[in-house]
């Protein structure tokens, strides 16, 4: 089924619907193993942690660029200008011209700044970047970002690192109803069931970091999320029946009465 159901972002085709964040792992080795098992084809990394002169190597040294698309993020940027400068650095450094845009002015909750995110998207799209913006679960903003040329929208399920799941479920449902570009639920997904829930709703993919990286066994959790995503997508394609308030028997209880 996978082969006939690719995720397409900016014309590029992916089999996996799980994107993996590479921060927060106990070691680079563990991150690489989790990435392998997760089946992810897109991995994000913080540009501020990339160090070309590092003694001990960078997180990406253990990942095969043939196997993964490296998606640098602008973590740490507090406004559009800082994010734009980081994106240009990623391009100049030959890392990527795909950018996961994060504009999070307050370190205490890391919620995205909608105004600055839209402004940075406009600038970066004009400069030819493929922009994947992290955003509030705001259906209006989703349209504005799509209009500005974003390749996807990435609404948050819950504040980053909170593992709370789809707190923004209703708003994400509205975004999905009208989306013309892929919708990737990012941030706050704490369990494979949350990932499955997002994909059952029709989200195109999810991005997970904390829940995998800080699990007791991150590699096993990476596999669990992979399966959660597969299950959620299958359920979506299978046409999940609507939930009902009460049980409904499969053959009518009153059928014996006939047509009269």
């Amino acid at each position: 089924m996978h082969r006939e159901d690719p995720l397409i972002i900016a014309g590029r085709s992916f089999q996996s619907r799980l994107l993996l964040g590479t921060g927060k792992f106990a070691s680079h080795q563990q991150m690489a193993e989790a990435a392998e098992v997760s089946g992810a084809e897109i991995v994000t990394m913080a540009l501020r942690r990339v160090d070309p002169g590092a003694n001990q190597g960078n997180i990406l040294d253990l990942l095969d660029p043939e196997q993964y698309l490296f998606l640098p993020n602008t973590s740490g940027a507090r406004n559009a200008d800082e994010a734009v400068r980081l994106a240009r650095l990623a391009r100049a450094g030959g890392i990527s011209d795909w950018i996961k845009l994060e504009v999070t002015p307050q370190p205490s909750h890391l919620l995205p700044d909608s105004v600055e995110t839209l402004r940075a998207t406009e600038i970066l799209v004009k400069e030819g970047f493929t922009v994947l913006p992290y955003m509030q679960a705001d259906p209006i903003l989703a349209k504005q970002l799509a209009g500005a040329g974003a390749a996807t929208v990435m609404p948050l399920g819950a504040p980053i690192g909170t593992n709370r799941g789809l707190q923004t479920r209703d708003a994400i449902a509205l975004i999905l109803q009208e989306a013309e570009i892929p919708v990737i639920v990012d941030a706050g997904l704490g369990a494979p069931s949350h990932a499955a829930e997002a994909l059952e709703m029709g989200a195109d993919a999810v991005l997970v970091n904390t829940a995998i990286a800080t699990a007791e066994d991150p590699v096993a959790m990476a596999k669990a999320f992979r399966l959660g995503c597969v299950a959620g997508r299958l359920a979506y394609l299978a046409g999940r029946p609507a939930a009902r308030a009460s049980a409904e028997a499969s053959s009518p209880l009153t059928g014996f009465l006939g047509e009269s």
Partner: protein, 371 residues
């Protein structure tokens, strides 16, 4: 009256300490289950009852640290610029009435020390200095920041309180962090330890972090020196300071340090000893009340304790530190600020972290973020 000064001067210590003393295990567990915690909760987390439940408290703190910061610890190194000082702080080896070898690094020496640290892997350097208007003035500090920034991307300063324009100049020179400990929040104790020099001005020091934030500094380090005054009150005051900064300067990262006073030349013995268990308790308590605050652990603490604490609440550590100017390239030629306890090299410390399932993060900053 200034908001912060008012907030610090009106902390209801009496009621809070009573709250702590009366707390039982049930009260502590109730707070562990809460999602958001306030300073009254902090008082309970600093209680004897919470000390009794330290294993449970530590587990909750460790979970929260992992959730917010991941299984990582950032590394930094102090670079001492000068041990010249016009202050008398009776606990410090740099006090002006101490007859010790003094020196101030020149540009070449700063470069050489920074190069040494960079070669060891450090990408985050804290420039530290005594207070001396002739040797360590604003121009000197800005030059020191510029030189260090040529070699590493992230530089903070731990020097005397500056004016807002002074902080602006250091930001422009390339610093993104300021560390300024109040040392002692209790005013009476503060006056008794800071007997001569500009540092006698408690309010000026208290407001320094706010001026730094006003000037665009992104990382603020605040702290109290443990051993100089009763620790519960000190931590409650530190938390009040942090809460004020979080409210006023939402864009600023805040980290806590609470080093225990160490032996130093000509310095006094600490009057209010804090044991290892209490140190861990206050770290956990602050983590649980401020989930996103950094907690810094220096080489003042012993290796075994550092190893244990790094799994619970610490987010940032120094390693292989020297506390005398020029001490990396030319050890022991000048007086140290204090004796360190953990003499392991950065490589040994990172190996220890890795063995505990913690990824050492050397670089966490990029030039492009510099406003």
């Amino acid at each position: 009256m200034n908001d912060l000064i008012h907030a610090i001067d009106t902390i209801p210590f009496g009621e809070m300490i009573v709250r702590a003393e009366c707390a039982d295990e049930r009260a502590v567990r109730e707070i562990l289950r809460k999602e958001h915690r306030d300073r009254w909760d902090l008082a309970v987390l600093l209680s004897p009852a919470a000390n009794h439940l330290l294993e449970e408290v530590a587990r909750a703190a460790a979970d929260l640290t992992a959730q917010r910061f991941g299984r990582t610890i950032r590394l930094y190194a102090p670079l001492y610029l000068s041990n010249e000082c016009v202050n008398v702080c009776t606990y410090c080896g740099f006090r002006r009435d101490n007859d010790v070898a003094r020196s101030t690094l020149n540009a070449d020496q700063i470069r050489s020390e920074a190069r040494y640290l960079s070669a060891q892997g450090f990408r985050n350097i804290l420039l530290v200095s005594g207070e001396h208007p002739k040797w360590v003035n604003q121009d000197y500090l800005c030059e020191a920041v510029r030189i260090t920034r040529e070699l590493v991307p992230q530089v903070a300063i731990e020097v005397q309180p500056l004016t807002t324009p002074g902080y602006e100049a250091t930001v422009k020179a390339g610093a993104d962090g300021v560390v300024v400990y109040q040392e002692v929040y209790d005013r009476e104790h503060y006056a008794s330890y800071h007997t001569h020099g500009p540092k006698k001005d408690y309010d000026d020091r208290l407001l320094a972090a706010s001026r730094a934030a006003d000037a665009g500094v992104r990382r603020l380090g605040i702290g109290t020196l443990l051993g100089l005054a009763p620790w519960r009150e000190e931590i409650l005051a530190l938390a009040t300071h942090a809460a004020h900064l979080y409210r006023r300067f939402g864009q600023t990262e805040i980290s806590f340090s609470f080093p225990r006073i160490r032996e130093a030349a000509g310095a006094i013995e600490p009057r209010y000893q804090v044991n290892d268990r209490q140190l861990l308790q206050m770290m956990c308590a602050l983590r649980l009340v401020f989930p996103d605050a950094g907690i810094v652990l220096s080489t003042r603490e012993a290796p075994s304790l550092r190893d244990g604490l790094s799994r619970i609440a610490v987010t940032m550590m120094s390693a292989g530190s020297r506390t005398e100017p020029g001490g990396y390239e030319h050890p022991d030629e000048s007086e140290k600020q204090f004796e360190i306890e953990d003499h392991r090299t950065p490589a040994e410390v990172t190996a220890m972290l890795a063995s505990q399932g913690i990824d050492p993060v050397w670089k966490d900053w990029e030039e492009a973020l510099h406003g």
